[in-house]
Symmetry: C2
Subunit: 392 residues, 2 copies
């Protein structure tokens, strides 16, 4: 992985998790980095989310470090705000930054007090271990019920040189579209101003994290940060900026798909493409309704070509369309034409559905040109097992 220049990473075990596995991570930029963030829309917001918003405003989107802990969401606790602030202060002191130049993020259990001293005591070790090649250690440290780290990278060759992009994310459960979902950190070494970066992130999220769900739940801690430290020395010109944005969006989509593929207990990545809807927004609503239907997700798990559940879920989206002018393809096989069963070999399609990816395409005729692609995963016994005993 060709990492962006000018970032260093570290992860240590601070004693927050019950098991000894890295739970405190740092991402540090050598140069002041433009920063943009999107956060949970939940009415209940964790202390680090509120503080990150404040710091982004106070620093005018110019930051130096992100400090992340797993194992405790620092949410709905008496001391949450003080713990988040103390964490940033300690990191700022060690890294010679202003407090507002440090962004905090947390993930883990809600409603359990987080001991700031554990973080403050462990931070010097983390700072001492900062290195350019420890990206993967941070990607592992932020995992909760994730079964594997989630990374994506890209680069764009521009007239004046190459800019690099690399991102990591965590997901697994409590994942729903509609906002910056879960924790995600994307770094680039391109020169991009904070205001421009905010627009890029907002549009990119709309086509990636907001088009993905695991279980329709939204965390109190969702945080997605995009940093651009300019260490490449390459400032894309007006025409090139679109190519950089396209590559950042592609990285965001890779990360979002990785979350869906590794949804709690998931066995399959499901890609849902809706076309011919009255608008892109309507297509997204229909795709989301299919993605969030437990009946569709369990049918895919069982390799059951049950297209009736797909059209039923589409009908629940609150979008006006004519089921009689709707076609559905499963793994490329026409299963429904004009709202009616199409002839297909159940045995052959079942075999095709046994693979690790499931492709659902729903096309409406005569309603418009709205299109959307959406990612989710199947729903399995594993999801239940994980979530019936997360705390205990």
């Amino acid at each position: 992985m060709n990492l962006p220049l000018g970032y260093r990473y570290a992860a240590v075990y601070a004693g927050i998790r019950a098991v000894e596995r890295d739970d405190l991570a740092l991402i540090v930029s050598g140069l002041p980095a433009s920063a943009a963030g999107v956060f949970t829309q939940n009415r209940v917001q964790a202390a680090p989310v509120r503080l990150s918003r404040r710091h982004l405003a106070a620093s005018r989107g110019q930051v130096g470090a992100v400090v992340i802990n797993a194992g405790n969401a620092n949410c709905a606790t008496r001391t949450g705000a003080a713990v988040a602030l103390a964490t940033c202060k300690a990191a700022a002191r060690l890294l010679h930054l202003r407090v507002a130049e440090v962004l905090p993020a947390s993930t883990g259990v809600i409603g359990v007090e987080l001991d700031a001293m554990k973080i403050i005591d462990a931070l010097p070790r983390a700072v001492g271990g900062l290195a350019e090649d420890r990206f993967g250690e941070v990607a592992r440290a932020i995992m909760t019920t994730d079964t594997r780290p989630k990374e994506a990278a890209g680069e764009v060759r521009l007239r004046r040189g190459t800019v690099r992009i690399a991102g990591m994310t965590k997901g697994a459960g409590m994942i729903q579209p509609q906002m910056a979902t879960t924790l995600g950190f994307v770094m680039t070494d391109a020169v991009i101003a904070p205001a421009q970066l905010r627009g890029m992130l907002k549009r990119g999220v709309e086509l990636s994290y907001n088009r993905m769900s695991v279980d329709g739940d939204t965390s109190t801690n969702d945080t997605l940060l995009l940093l651009a430290n300019g260490a490449s020395g390459v400032r894309p010109d007006a025409g090139e900026m679109a190519r950089v944005e396209a590559e950042i969006t592609r990285v965001l989509q890779e990360l979002a798909k990785a979350i869906a593929r590794d949804g709690e207990g998931a066995g399959k990545l499901i890609t849902i493409t809706v076309s011919g809807a009255p608008s892109h927004a309507a297509a997204t609503r229909i795709a989301r309704s299919i993605a969030n239907s437990p009946l569709v997700k369990t049918a895919v798990h069982g390799s059951d070509p049950n297209w009736g559940r797909i059209i039923c879920a589409a009908g629940n989206a609150g979008v006006k369309f004519d089921p009689g002018r709707t076609d559905i393809r499963l793994q490329g096989v026409a299963v429904c034409r004009s709202g009616l069963a199409a002839p297909f070999s159940e045995a052959e399609l079942k075999a095709k559905l046994d693979g690790p990816e499931c492709d659902i395409r729903l096309r409406i005729r005569g309603a418009g040109k709205g299109e959307a692609t959406f990612w989710t995963c199947d729903f399995t016994e594993g999801y239940i097992e994980i979530n019936a005993s997360y705390r205990t």
Copy 2:
């Protein structure tokens, strides 16, 4: 069970199900019965739903029979409308009714042609078997993945005599609030005009079926019918009508709770009560968001007093409230006060959560007087098992 006067019931096996179990049922009133119905809001509506609506309008809410089949939803099929009409015509001929006096309802798989001849051939046997005491056989015949029949009854003593109410329903999966969910048939022998009956059903559904969910999915076939044939000879006076409505609502609530309790794979009935919300509608939204959260439902399954997931789900309801003025009780035990963890014995509460019922109460202070009670079930491995292989 003290059944309403003047109704007869029958159930037979017509060969629609693969296994030999009654799949065709009749409910017949000896007197013309006022009728009211609520139906699915899904954009995709099964043929029997569309025909029932038409017949209710054409008969001006005066019907004689309901014909129900299980095993096939008669939805998204080429011949659906013709099959539903042929079914009503055959029943009308045998029962000496006009076609519009027969209401059809179907439940089962979507997108598979239903053979009308199977129903037409079996109807004479069903009519021949009609009896006042076969209520329970119909309740069993309409079951799909239900593990037990669902019945509820009540009566009201009025000045001029007693009126009786009895209802049956089926549920199990593809169940969500927001509309007449699943199949339900409620009969009374009170004298009530169709227009009045419609208002009663609409209000009653709002407090029962619309306050219940299993998995957040809405069927294409949801049908709830209320019949009042006046066989008791008792016409409630203006003052008494409210008592009759209250009892009908109570029967509807019993049926809705029975559906939640017997949700696919469910082990527990969850009752969610929200109070202090800005409005009743806001309280319902919060309660529904908690009820539809897979994370809350799996935590309850695992007897995990994870109140963080409850407040998180409440925060996703799209209702403005202050989490810092929110209290949560689980099985009567305070687990969250003013948005923060309350001290409680985890072991004792875990033991209390092992029972068959789970009580969640969320109270907001200072926001208003909005209240709602909502029913759902826990989310288990059983749900996945049932739905990963429903058709096969």
